[in-house]
Amino acid sequence: MTATDPTLIRRYGTATPEVAPQPLTVGRTTLSWHGGAIRRLTFDGIEILRGISMVIRDAHWGTHRPIIRASEIVRTSPTLELRHEGDIADTHGDALHAALHISLSETYLDARLRLIAARPFETCRSGLVVLLPLAHVVGQRAVVTHDDGREETGRFAERISPSQPFFSIRRLRLAPTPKLAMTLDFHGDVFEMEDQRNWSDASFKIYNRPLAWPAPYRLDAGECVEQRITLTLETNKAEASHA
């Protein structure tokens, strides 16, 4: 069914529709591919990730909208391969090329981002963002491996934390259910977490480049940034670590 303009205006106040999400299934894992981002990744019906995407901020924390060069489902078997590439342009033309490649099997996700600056590029943050959902996460125990190798055991607090719950996250482990454990590994920058419920977002956000570092910062001409986030799911092994 195609909605006509007056219908869209009555729904949204604008005749401009949004890109429709594309539901995808890989065995027991489902997700929605939505404008170059993964949303609502579930395993056996349990939401594991609210989202994973690349975010390129400008020098004032505004969010760039890349000119998309390619955004496609490359293949669906034996693994699902997704590709999203675009350029951020300024008045002189293309300034930053961004390429996100995601590969997904039933229990393993690999997201790789490559940024190449054509010219010096000012940004407050450019990189990969992971959103964790609230259900099955709030109240759970979290085991964080920091960049210096130290391990910290904490908890996703019931009450909303005014400051970041976890810093310097190299690895994050939690058990959404007694029968399911998940591990997120972060590479290519220093990652930390924000309790986004502060802003009425239904997620915890894990993002690169600590807020305490100077912003904006500059990517030099020719500089290449590579970031990678992997998600590993394990079933039936989590009984002991679930709290």
């Binding site: 009555r10 502060n198 009425s200 977002d201 239904a202």
Partner: protein, 399 residues
Amino acid sequence: MPDAVHVSFRRTDGIRLPPLGVGLWVDRLASAEVLARQLERLGPNHVDILVDLRQSDGLNRLETALVPCGHQQVAIWLYVITPDEQPGPALKQLAYRLNGTGIQPAGLLLTPAAYLASYQPNGDWPTTVSPDALRALGREIWPTMRLGGGFPTYFTELNRCRPNPAAIDFLTHATSPVVHAADDVSVMESLESLSHVFASARALAPNVPYRVTTSAIGAWTNPYGGTLTPNTAGERVTLSDNDPRQRGLFAAAWSLGYMARAIGRVDSLTLSSIDRPFPITDTEQRYPLFDVLRGLAAGAGHEALACVPEDDTIAALGWLATDGSGDVWLANLTAQARDIDIGDAYRAAVFDDGIEPDDIASDEWPLDRLEPRSEPLTLAPYAVARVAVPPAMIDGHST
């Protein structure tokens, strides 16, 4: 279409629907006539008025706004922005002018202008007058008035600058779902966080009334970057006060979802505003949101029904009407049509995209025209429905 969503209804006894009001920015109000007309037709339980004492005509505009509110006998909650330097004289002038109108606000929140910006918990905070110090100054001027703690901005600011709970008479903040993401799915997902926001805020001051002040899809100010996102084209963008969805069913459904989460968790709720920044009409037409706010404001004080849909694609709320039936309101929070299973004999009215917007002066209220039905109720994307649920379908009804 997926299977029909079943909604169950149960009495809650102690829980009442909170009063529902609208916001009002005195510097954006077109005229006292517009205000008088809209108050009469909307029937809000209160008006949260924002006045910035740094603006030279702020007090004149406030007086203009107060007169129609006085005629309607609607409760006024004043949200006052003060200068950071020497706020005392500005407060005394406000007190003098308020006395002159003979209208006594139900409560006051005083916010130093520097605190409209957000600060990191460990960052550099303003060295000028703090909200706690400003309230203490206010106590000297208004010894018997309810003075609040919190912010006219978002929960984050309250969470990072918590008032002394023993020194406040009410706690308050707003929310906006478009600080970080403005797509349709993210905006509706934000409703899921509200129970966390409400519980966390309540815990900061458990013994005083908790008011959620003017909230809407848009943002009226940007505490994080100084300016709002320019959005003259009316696109879905973060941190904008011109969100297109305000005009559509989308905002009606979102607001219904907001109230559904607020029942039993907040003592007072304020959604959207008369005129900008979150208008509920334009100069010719009512937005669907107007009809929903009007309907929900009429439920204030009634015993709430626990209305539990099987999944979160549907928002549901309701109250016990005087005839023992349920006055139940439903919204489809998604872009896909959904069927709702309500039994085989009920009355309902649907507001969906097949209905022409009503003229601003019209006395036609689509959600007041309930008609008998026996099939599952189909809700088009973001459609809103009002259902009269028979007493026999309500768990815990008196027989």
